[in-house]
């Protein structure tokens, strides 16, 4: 029991930090430009596929560097020559534009790598148990992912809170126009943030691919979770994104190992199982089975109770 708890907590934190790597870019882009980048999860997927391809041909370390770099560059160009032009036609056009990009990445990935997943595995250099948690060996690769994610998080916070460009970004989150009128090149900052966001999504894909399944479904599955994280954390809020990422990471990880249902609860309060069987199948459903819908449930509750999210300064 305690062992399960420790492992699930660790897994949940790692998953949460990966979510944060994605959500941070998404929430910053939204806060500054008011655009919900629907292609963000697709960039994550593309990162995983690039990671797989480069790992196979050159090695994991080059993949770790080249994958995010390629996506970062691609993201910056996409902002500069695509989104910036679409911007003048309003938010709906921008949303449709990112939707188109998501669709294109999806189709391209399926065309190149096929409709079923690819065998992107943990790199052999990192494929060993690092330590034992009670009796279970814990894989070194997961700890590597955790360390990298924490390092990225610390770096991101340091840049945002200490550097001059960070100051400009924080101001532009709420008042991009005013920042421009003080003489800062806001469009360039947008491009930079979009590029870094895409690069981080790519990095999350490169390192997350071997843990989760690298397949064309991964973007759709993750995309919905990401929007949930960003809304729960509060649009544009980095601390909010961190908290919500960890929260959802832990909730999802714990829920899938919770093999309890209403049945067990009814038994526990002492009602005879046969006599209490009024709800039928509903009663037998375990928490593990409803785990996938828990984040959306949280999203709906959040929208009703506190539309600005945990740390957001404005409503959705």
């Amino acid at each position: 029991m305690l062992e399960q708890l420790a492992i699930s907590t660790l897994n949940g934190i790692i998953y949460g930090m990966l979510l944060f790597m994605l959500a941070s870019g998404l929430t910053l882009i939204f806060g500054m430009m008011g655009v919900l980048n629907l292609a963000h999860a697709s960039m994550y997927m593309l990162g995983a596929y690039l990671g797989y391809q480069i790992s196979k041909t050159i090695g994991f370390l080059p993949a770790l560097i080249l994958g995010p770099l390629a996506l970062g560059l691609g993201g910056a160009l996409l902002e500069r020559y695509g989104l910036r032009r679409v911007h003048q036609h309003g938010h709906v056009s921008e949303l449709l534009f990112t939707f188109g990009v998501a669709f294109m990445i999806q189709e391209a990935v399926q065309m190149i790598w096929g409709r079923i997943g690819v065998p992107y595995r943990v790199p052999p250099e990192l494929d060993f148990p690092l330590f034992r948690l009670f009796d279970t060996p814990y894989p070194a690769y997961r700890i590597f992912v955790l360390v990298l994610a924490v390092a990225i998080f610390v770096g991101l916070f340091a840049i945002l809170s200490r550097s001059r460009i960070g100051l400009v970004i924080r101001a532009a989150l709420t008042h991009p126009n005013m920042v421009g009128m003080l003489g800062h090149n806001v469009p360039q900052v947008f491009m930079l943030v979009f590029g870094v966001g895409a690069g981080l999504a790519g990095l999350a894909g490169v390192i997350g691919g071997p843990i989760f399944v690298t397949s064309p479904n991964m973007a759709g599955a993750l995309g919905a979770i990401l929007f949930t994280v960003v809304v729960i954390g509060g649009l544009g809020s980095l601390p909010g994104a961190l908290l919500a990422s960890l929260l959802i990471g832990l909730v999802q990880t714990f829920a899938v190992v919770m093999d309890v249902s209403l049945d067990d609860f009814i038994k526990a309060i002492g009602v005879d199982a046969k006599a209490g069987n009024i709800l039928g199948d509903i009663q037998h459903t375990t928490i593990a089975q409803i785990a996938p819908i828990l984040p959306y449930l949280m999203l709906l509750v959040m929208l009703v109770v506190r539309p600005r999210g945990l740390f957001g300064s404005r409503d959705v």
Binding site: N177, V179, L182, G183
Partner: protein, 231 residues
């Protein structure tokens, strides 16, 4: 230094600026007067590149119409908006730092000068700008723009909603700014301070300039005041 010729601007179908002409020479304080909604704010937003417009706008002999706001700011135009757009989540110091266009820019004004002018800002340097009083926020917005060392500063209704003592402080600050050779284009509602500190005044009505002259000539012209200013 600044020259507008036949500037037109629209918000959707409404023709807000209907051919504005005005000019400003170096070191001048010029005030733009007029009733609510005649297009004074729109005029300075047009200069700042924040409103789409047609016509000619020249600054230091350069055509600036069509440039991006940040490019116009870098040429030496400073803008203090009417809604006091401070960055509420950032500290007072961070707000001032954002006024600087480059990291170690050395202009007419330093952070120390700002603090010397308004000790209150130094006391509250590490406080979120959002919790300052209205008057303090107004001082902060002006100081933030000064940190960017503009050659022309456009200030939109700085005294709106301020207590008389604060109004006096703002007027005093504007005079100090002009003393350092910075031109000021002021948008005001209060006739008293406008007449007191400006060299020339423009009166706007229905999207165009309806009067141009010295404060003394405006004081003498009761018909203009009655038709375009008094409510």
């Amino acid at each position: 230094m600044l020259e507008l010729q036949d500037v037109h601007a629209y918000y959707g179908k409404s023709h807000v600026l209907q051919g504005v002409n005005l000019h400003l020479t170096e070191g001048e304080i010029v005030t733009l007067l007029g009733r609510n909604g005649v297009g004074r704010s729109t005029t300075i937003k047009a200069i700042m590149g924040d409103v789409v417009c047609t016509g000619t706008i020249r600054f230091k002999g350069r055509d600036i119409l069509g440039l991006k706001s940040y490019e116009i700011a870098r040429l030496g135009v400073g803008y203090v908006p009417e809604n006091r757009d401070i960055f509420p989540g950032l500290t007072v110091r961070e707000n001032l730092l954002l006024g600087q266009k480059k990291r170690h820019a050395q202009g007419r004004w330093s952070m120390q000068d700002m603090f010397a002018l308004f000790p209150r800002l130094e006391e509250r340097a590490e406080v979120s700008a959002g919790v300052l009083s209205g008057g303090e926020q107004q001082m902060l917005t002006i100081c933030r723009t000064l940190m960017g060392d503009p050659d022309l500063i456009m200030v939109d209704e700085p005294t709106e909603g301020l207590a008389p003592r604060m109004v006096e402080l703002v007027a005093d600050l504007l005079r100090r700014i002009a003393e350092r050779g910075v031109s000021i284009l002021l948008v005001e509602q209060k006739l008293t301070i406008a007449l007191e500190i400006s060299r020339r005044v423009y009166v706007m009505g229905h999207g165009r300039v309806v009067f141009e002259g010295t404060p003394a000539s405006l004081s003498a012209d009761a018909t203009i005041r009655k038709e375009w200013l008094e409510v």
